[in-house]
Symmetry: C2
Subunit: 146 residues, 2 copies
DNA sequence: CTTGAAGCTATAGTTGCTAGAGACATTAGG
DNA sequence: CCTAATGTCTCTAGCAACTATAGCTTCAAG
């Protein structure tokens, strides 16, 4: 049995994050030691690794919740799991397309900046006037900041 | 002079968002009508368009705050503005690289899914075991969900 | 046996908004 | 001119997915 710290080290997840996952019901309530400390076995370890990996692949906690409950029913069809993964793929492709456009625009901006005064700065100028942009990167839903 | 709704329509920004920007000091406090409603002129419009455009390009509000204060000092060097834009470019490239790896991995997952039972589902299996992955998409800081 | 690390709970903060409640302002139609 | 429908006001709370802090208790090593 592992303490929460060992489990966190093993799975590459921070301790408060594990407690958070338990709190929102993504991990079951852990066993406790005589001194009220959480103790984890192999199953909890696997479940946490699953969550971690899915998070690394950009799945939301909601999607992970669904995937976990699917993986608890091994004899069901995997169509639902497949659909979740495909939706995630579509989402990733959408973000990729958007980021590619942003990259092009940012490159244009910094390349054109001659390094003079703010008054002539291409960066500031372009930001103030979208019509100076080559691509239409407008309106698409918010690009989140990490 | 525009009311907040007209300004929002003109700039493509929702009304509560404008009030939020004012609240956090990104927009100056607006003039008020006799009936206490916010009124905006051309300058506010331009400033909001600048913010909107920078947000579209993925700049954080903090970065935008800096860019705005730079643009208020037209005779200064634009090195700082350039640095912010370059940092944003680097960040976008980093995310792009990461998303590209995720896309590859997700594609592998869904292609390999034979559409049978959960017990044999490649999606579930891969999520449970990172060593089944082709690329190392681990540890990099959280990919945020929009 | 003591000390320091690791654990516990509970609460609040982060980013960039969005949603709701309940009250006042403005405007279009009849 | 009155009413109804919008629009706007303030304030508070909520979203994701954690992270940080405070003030404890417990555990393991020396």
């Amino acid at each position: 049995m592992l303490t929460i710290g060992k489990l966190g080290d093993a799975a590459g997840v921070k301790v408060p994050t594990i407690r958070y996952y338990e709190q929102i019901g993504l991990l079951p309530e852990a066993e406790r030691s005589s001194g009220n400390q959480r103790l984890y076995g192999r199953k909890a370890m696997e479940r946490l690794a699953f969550i971690r990996h899915a998070r690394d692949l950009g799945f939301t906690l909601e999607a992970i919740r669904d995937l976990l409950s699917l993986s608890d029913r091994p004899d069901q069809s995997c169509a639902a799991a497949d659909a979740i993964a495909r939706a995630q793929l579509v989402e990733v492709e959408r973000r990729l397309a958007r980021l590619t456009a942003l990259k092009a625009e940012l490159e244009r901006m910094v390349v054109q900046c001659a390094g003079g005064k703010i008054a002539d700065c291409r960066v500031i100028e372009v930001l103030g006037d979208h019509s100076l942009c080559a691509t239409d990167h407008r309106h698409p839903e918010t690009e989140p900041t990490p």
